[in-house]
Amino acid sequence: MNYTPHTEEDIKKMLKSIGVSCVEELFDVIPQELRAQSFELPESMSEQGVSKEIERLLSLNGSGIRNFAGGGFYDHYIPSAVDFLSSRSEFYTPYTPYQSECSQGTLQALYEYQSAICRLTGMDVSNASVYDGGTAAAEAVLMALNITRNRRKIIIDSGVNPLYREIIHTYTENLNIEIVEVDSINYRADRKKLKGLTDKDTAAVLLQNPNFFGAVDDYTDIVAAAAENGALSILLFYPVSLGVLKTPGEMGFDIAAGEGQSLGIPLSFGGPYLGILAACKKYLRKLPGRIAGAAQDSNGRRGYVLSMQAREQHIRREKATSNICTNQNLMALRALLYMVLTGKSGFVNVSKKNLMAAAKLKETIAALKTEIEIPFYGPVYNEFVIKLPVDARAAVKKMLQQKILAGVPLGDFYPGRQNELLVCATESSSDEDFKLYTDALENLLKL
């Protein structure tokens, strides 16, 4: 199967017009000694053949696995209209909207996305997306280094998603800065230590709410302490939680970064996801990536453009705020559609339901007659830690045999916590799921 429409007649006509005798002649500029030494790929297939191959691959994945693992990535219900609207060819198949007059659909949607993100986070400005939550965090750190100029220290609470902390390390490894990670105490940020470490060389303090353990916090005091030292504060937030939880804006954060997967984006084995990046107004021109802005035409009609492109790589080259070009536009559209379709009150309901689901599962597990401990009893969102009397990784592997993904073992990310398991529930989890889960846990611990 190929998708080239050329008939023999077309090719003849085109070659004649160009003045060559065969297509190969157009490649004459490439000397023979530079030609491909190998190109061993499968033969082409019919569409039907490929369809069968897809079926085969699908059948190889485990089906019907009940999911209690989060770790920053969750099973959420997606309204049907999100898929339907975002699949429209006119949204699906254009390029980045450089030519604004014939891209008003994408541009207005981006402007609406940015506005919705500002309303959700309480921040003043948002860009039009970066790749994912981890790269959003890394870009936020780079932004803070750029804003504070000669400051070289970044302080990170260990409650920040460990995958994201790794991405930040990867991004900044060559920039001659110091990253100080501060261990949390009792599943929450060590405020005393964080404040004590913040000094005149600190560019930013990075926190997460709810943190990796699901614990909910109010960081207003840490933000204030950072500001006193002239350091910026960055919050990694979880969008659905902001239906009920205190916003980064209310806590006074300078920059808010988040993974937008919860906003109508499927898990899809790791992506594509959505990096959300928002900030205070005064940092607008330091924000990386695309930003849609309102503009007028000569008749005074309102429209939208990619604004302030002078920050970006295609104009500023090595002096750009970031190298990002292609972002996650379609995912930003999905997030917008999700926020619009659930709407003001529906979004709050989903948010509350997630909070309640985790609380309920936690209570149910606590009530079991097992040796499981619940080490943190403060407020949690979406997930929480349980301490097993056995190795958590081994427990997850065993429970997978019963088609239950029991959670995220913490030992992989926090050495010494081999028996701790991060368990998640969302608005999609039913009472029947909870029963299956607790039964399986009890069985496991009986053995």
Partner: protein, 477 residues
Amino acid sequence: MKLIFQKSVKSRKGVDITGALQGGTEKLPEAKYLRHSPAELPEVSELEAVRHYVGLSRQNFSVDTNFYPLGSCTMKYNPKILEKAASADAFTGLHPILGFYSCESCAGALEVLYRMQEFLSEITGMHSTSLQPMAGAHGELAGMLMVRKYHRKKRNNKKFIIVPDESHGTNPASAAMAGYGVVTIPTGPDGLLDIDILREKLSGETAAVILTCPNTVGKFDPRIKQISSLARSRDALMYYDGANMNAIMGKVRPGDLGFDIVHLNLHKTFATPHGGGGPGAGPVGVTKELSEYLPYPRVVKDEDDGFALSFDRKKSIGRIAPFYGNFSVILKAFIYIVLLGKEGLKDASEKAVLNANYIMKNLNASFNNPYPGHCMHECVFSASEPGMAMNIAKYLIDNNIHPPTVYFPLIVKEALMIEPTETESLQTLDNFIDLMRKASELMKKDPQRLQDSPVSMPVGRLDEVSAARQPDVNFTS
């Protein structure tokens, strides 16, 4: 069109996901953890939302609705069967962390990733490929970080990355993000890198040379091996920006030309839809010598010929994405390669080059061609007079064609960079040529007509300068 926020009516409900909630505020944490009032999201019905966004979609040009010869972007048709695979529940519902504990439960997904690594290594002639980078620029960053690792290991004191002046803006920006300075080499009158200046600027402090080949003016540099050896003589690595890979599949492989690192743009060459600006995918391939620096985890074959993840990170640059990259984009590109096979991919490149040359030949009499002679998959003209490239772009919009890339590459005055791709028919190309010839005549006879375009869109030309000066990026009322 009004904004969705302006269509909001107090207390109107949208999609009900949860049903009525049991238990009220007593279940919530104490007030200091809660937001003061709900986010002011729109209050509209599902139908109102659907009309609003279907309405907005109709204000877009797209590959499925319009010819879209945007240079350097490879806007080829995105076959619909690719979506079938990517939208199946057995893939969309798969939690990525499952791979950390049970490769059997995600064997189908891992097979796709493993075979895709192999396919791309073969297509580029590289030893190994990582699929983690989520866009071309992200692949470049991964590449630059590997350049750093390589030189650190050899204790080389390297400070600069060399890029040609016609290069994509992401190249110097990625170099800067990895902490390198940038040295720019001019392009000669033949559209190729000025090799004498390259020789002069290459020094012991050069960490790598980034090239796009064929380059952004559509020329393949036959001296490429000579350039590679020059770089090697200074222990500088060669980086291949794969944005233009669509010209040469099956004809040339960067690995055979002496390149050490390659990134590809799956959303260009391998037909995954661009989504109005992403998601893309920017896999990065390297030589054997550099393979241990690739981002981790990587998909490998285990002893029983099954697929597994390797978390070996000793020498890796680390994670650049949380898991395995933009999986569903990679999946679509994988299906595309399986569909076309080796002959189909070669055919795609041949027809892409044929289409570009047909356009070039037929517009040579109408526009100034700064680099005559055959082109590869795209051609660049100059509209010569100030503002005219933009005027022509807007005239094309009025004629239902998406404009070529304009004002890039920066080295061509009033540049019009045209990349038709292989999926367009002779009839579509003839219609475009016809319109471009008319535009060229209007340039002489009635420039005002071009200046006034577009008139058929929801808005006329928008004042970007004022928009940037007084930014309105968030609807606050």
